[in-house]
Amino acid sequence: MRIARIPILLVGAAVFVGPVVLGLGHLTHVAWGMALVNSLTIAISFTVLSTASAALAGFAFARHRVWWKNVVFLFVLSTLMVPWIVTMIPQFVIFYRLHLINTPWPWVLWGIQGTPLQIFLFRQFYASFPRELEDAAAIDGSGRLRIFWDIFVPNSKPIIAVTAVWGFILVWGDYLTQDLFFLLDPNGTLLTRITDVLPSTTQTFPTLPLALYALPPIVFFLFVQRYITQSVVRTGIKG
């Protein structure tokens, strides 16, 4: 049964993912195609990675029993007070020297790092998570990571939805970083390409491309918003 699943999955992957990959490959030949690929890559990778990273960090800050965790947490929060623009130039220099300019890699690394706000949100959510569920899973035989994956993650849909939408919008609408870190790439990202063709006067402002550009986050939000209001975590507790 378990072994039979693997070929089925492989065939399924070939059938469904194949055209997508081919289509994306084709995109690179279309005008602005590469810009779209870049935009989607940085936004999606940052969203997925930063949410996963912040969930793990929030879990540790909320539930790990070590005395110094609050000191570290305060340190993480205090980075919120450093204006992001201040670290921009040094980061550019670092990524330039690592030859990661004009690639999506900075966003991947920022994603792995997580953001203080997302970590904060996860920590607050997990701090009020019923302790009994964790205890019950520990007695049932789960280790800490297994408890996180089996118990905490499935019950954190609202907070995952919030932080993911927030992360996506953070990257999708961030013109300055994209312009800077794709500085030497003629393809750029969708956002930098759209603004490149904007005329210098506002009389004939091309609203259509910008309106279209705003669609993905809206679709994403509509897709996850049902989770945001949903909270079932306490329903296993009490009568």
């Binding site: 205890d135 899973a137 007695i139 789960s142 019950n155 079932v232 296993g236 507790i237 009568g239």
Partner: protein
Amino acid sequence: MSEIVLSGVSKTFPGGAKAVDEISLTIEDGELMVLVGPSGCGKTTLLRMIAGLETVDDGSIRLGDRDITNLEPRDRDIAMVFQDYALYPHMNVRANLSYGLRVRKTPKHEIERRVDEVAGLLGLHDLLDRLPAALSGGQRQRVAMGRAIARRPQVYLMDEPLSNLDAKLRVRVRADLARLHAQLRVTTIYVTHDQVEAMQLGHRSAVMRDGRIQQVGRPQTLYRDSANLYVASFIGSPSMNLVRAELEREAVRFAGYRVPLDLRRRPPAGSPGQVILGIRPEDFEDARFSPPGLPTIDVEISLVEDLGPEALAFFALDAERVEPEIFGVAADRRDQEALMADDRRALFSATLDAATAARAGQICRLTVNPARFHFFSPYNGESLLDTELPDRLEEAV
């Protein structure tokens, strides 16, 4: 063998509160041991220490021939039923029941067999595909119990599993629990603050207070031969009547009465003349309904509560009230005495035959049973009788 041996187990919380204070206790293989005491007495902390959810500061815990003092919860082979059930809210009943088995990589057919078996045992077959949110309180309770049973651990730990059920359901589930234990014969530690539950469930109960065990024994031992004033007041409802008394060679004097002693049940010679006399409400009876030969006292009834099968009569004695608080006595007794807060006299209660003619304001003749008297030291509240005798006799037989 899954005998649990606690030796000198202690736990101090940060801030200096001593939650569990050098507890030594042996729970025998297959026994249902009840830890009972008011909230804050350390019973739940002790249970969580046995589960591995709290660290042990001092002492050791053995399970069978293993020292489990510092093991992770998952390596102890125990299961726990939580007060709030703690069902996994995103898993249906089947997944809840089998989670512990899946984590331990039990073969699939074995998991199915055990879930089926537990569902049959607890009547959960129709609920297997429901989420906890779609279950009633009693059903959730059964799933929580089933999750523990499906694992087939060496020991069950139960933390007030009935406290969230309504009164009628509680009685039923309690009976189910006793039946289950008789069927499974697995060592069980059961925590409750309800002395009635302790009396009905336990092979043995350990009465706890301030992190210490006051007395361990069978329900009848705790009731008939309480080791100290604390246990005497905690066990039994309504609680034991207490009054200062003077011990003579063959009688006891209290509040102007002189009642002859039962010589088989009196403090050993050399006990102090001043004692605290304890009489359970059940050991009074309306003289018209009791067998002849028992000593009587005449009292003025101040209140009669008709409970249906029996009547509860209250009367004040011409003696100062014993303040059992100095020995740290259970809360429900204080509540009861608050009724008569303006009166410094001792307030006694007596459970009488429902047909009693006793009415408030009238004089009534009651019999007392000296074979059931309790005597406590007025200095430290310890019983002056040999309270361990009945258990020792039983062991000898």
